[in-house]
Amino acid sequence: MTLNNTIIETLDLKKWYTISRGIIRRQKSYVKAVDGVSIRIEKGEAVSLVGESGSGKTTLGKLLLLLEEPTDGKILFEGNNIIHNNRKKEFRRKVQMIFQNPYTSFDPRLNMFENITEPLVVHNLVNSYKERFSIAINLLSKVGLNPPEVILSKYPHQLSGGQLQRASIARALSLNPELLVADEPTSMLDASLRIGVLNTLKSLQKEMKLSVLLITHDLAAASYLTSRVYVMYLGKIVECGDTQDIIDHPLHPYTIALMDAVLTTKIRNLGELKIKGELTPNYKDNVCRFSSRCPYANEKCLTQEPKLVELEKGHFVACHYPSY
């Protein structure tokens, strides 16, 4: 693949939050929410970022959208470093986001018409009310919200979670973006509505050749929607590769545990997971961050932090003892 096919790329991206303690001897400690992450999304590609809460995946999403300032590292958008760049306005038009909580995604004082078409106003893309209205109608039918005229006159609290999440997609699409970041877009929805939103995203991605980054804790959703996966643990990418590859034979013990823990409607014995404790951000420098929960951890894992290496073609893992 050539470089100019990449829509967005991060290079060793870091976001450390400082916690300062003491007044006389000021010691600084850090929460390394994102700690040296390099990911890449190609044009028209759907990629997912999978991890538990606390893994740093949401922070990474916010960094990508320049909602947070990175501590260190680069974000290349279409080949240009976008941090401290004066092309933000253009970037804002090309990269859009769908949020986790649909109920708080819209200004409660504005009706859906105003909410959905606000990006057009901000970017001065419409000349008349009529134009704005017809674009809105068009957007709503694209995301399957019917009847559009009725929906547009409603206020956010009058719609259901599923409808709001579709409206959220419509708002994002109003700018004809190239990249769509979706942060847990279905986790707040009732089970029977989730698939509809995922389907909408899926068909739009194909139709419009959108690049999509799906941030999720749900491996099933990741495998349904995206072709490549990054697995994140405590600020680091621990495994990445083709979705099918990773699901067929995961290499990192964390990915394996994550997959084991997913319950489906296929009944099975609830056996012991090969993972201990809960995710806690207390770890020393230069150790494998998963070692405190890893069943295979030994001396090496406690003295040397594993690097992300390509074990198979396109399948990377950061583990000293990947399970072949």
Partner: protein, 326 residues
């Protein structure tokens, strides 16, 4: 961060705030139209004295030097000299403190206890007729100016019913001593203390009631109800403990006004405390005295806030004494 360091930081903060109050005070004097020296001396001061004040506080020097000499004088306990009373401001105030404390401390404690008891009763029958009536009555009481309530009580109990003395701390004509004097003072204090108590009750009532009502609908109340705990146990053991923080905080904050909170009522009842002092100062434009009272009040308020912060850490295990920022 440890407990000691938290304390230290709070103490530093306390001094910082007192310092700011001093500067503010300084600015008010120095930015006023006219001669700051005559303001610092008061309107009754003689020319010679104004000149002496000018020298002493360095009022003919540049502003930063003035600030330094002002702060250092105040830090050394020199709040200035009251020409009206021919006495140093600090000793004047110190004399009145116990007299004022008698009223303020008693009434604060009474108001806290009565307010809390009423709140408990109201909140346990929240939204009942009784609760709504008491709540609204408290709102009305909260709207009554203290000095007017004092006058109304004087009118009813002093003038109308002729039951209680209405002015002063003692009966000057009787010249009582010992136990009789104590009883005399007590009788004289009934009306001012009642007035002060009455106007403070609504403050504690409102905060405590709302706090209890909120806590009663917390999830843990449901948990314990489902665990079979009856209402009175649940209330006594859990809801009360959880709802106490806001009223206790307000009580502690109000203690900041312990020296000055009663001035208007003292004036009405001719009580020889800080209030009378202040009234006199206002009438004779005795600026050093007014500033002295303002400074003392600011300092007690700052201390009360300091005290509240410490109290919070002691009472609420959720408060961490770290200063996290991102």
């Amino acid at each position: 961060m440890g407990w000691k360091e938290y304390l230290l930081r709070r103490i530093i903060q306390l001094f910082f705030i007192v310092f700011i109050v001093l500067i503010l005070n300084f600015l008010i004097i120095n930015l006023a139209p006219g001669d700051p020296a005559s303001i610092m001396a008061g309107e009754l001061a003689t020319k010679e004295y104004i000149e002496a004040v000018r020298q002493k506080w360095g009022l003919n020097k540049p502003i930063y030097e003035r600030l330094i000499s002002y702060v250092s004088n105040v830090v050394h306990g020199d709040f200035g000299y009251s020409f009206t009373y021919s006495q140093s401001v600090l000793s004047l105030i110190a004399e009145r403190i116990p007299i004022t404390l008698m009223l303020t401390l008693t009434s604060s404690i009474l108001a806290f206890v009565i307010g809390l008891l009423l709140a408990v009763r109201s909140a346990q029958n929240a939204f009942s007729k009784e609760d709504i009536i008491v709540s609204n009555a408290m709102l009305v009481l909260y709207s009554v100016p203290s000095f007017w309530l004092g006058l109304v009580l004087i009118g009813v109990f002093g003038v109308g019913l002729r039951l209680l003395p209405t002015s002063g701390m003692t009966d000057v004509r009787a010249a009582n001593t010992g136990l009789l004097l104590a009883i005399d003072i007590l009788i004289h204090s009934i009306l001012p203390i009642s007035t002060l108590t009455a106007i403070q009750i609504p403050v504690y009532y409102k905060i405590a009631r709302n706090s209890i009502v909120e806590q009663s609908s917390e999830d843990y109340a449901l948990t314990f109800t489902m665990a079979g705990m009856n209402r009175s146990d649940l209330f006594r053991k859990y809801i009360l403990r959880n709802s106490l923080l806001p009223p206790v905080t307000v009580f502690a904050l109000h203690l900041g006004y312990i020296l000055s909170g009663a001035v208007l009522v003292e004036i009405v009842f001719g009580w020889p405390g800080m209030g009378r002092l202040l009234l006199g100062a206002v009438y004779s434009r005795d600026y050093p005295l007014i500033m002295g009272i303002y400074l003392i009040t600011s300092i007690t308020v700052a201390f009360a806030n300091f005290f509240v912060d410490i109290l919070y850490v002691l009472l609420d295990p959720r408060v961490k004494y770290t200063n996290e920022s991102s």
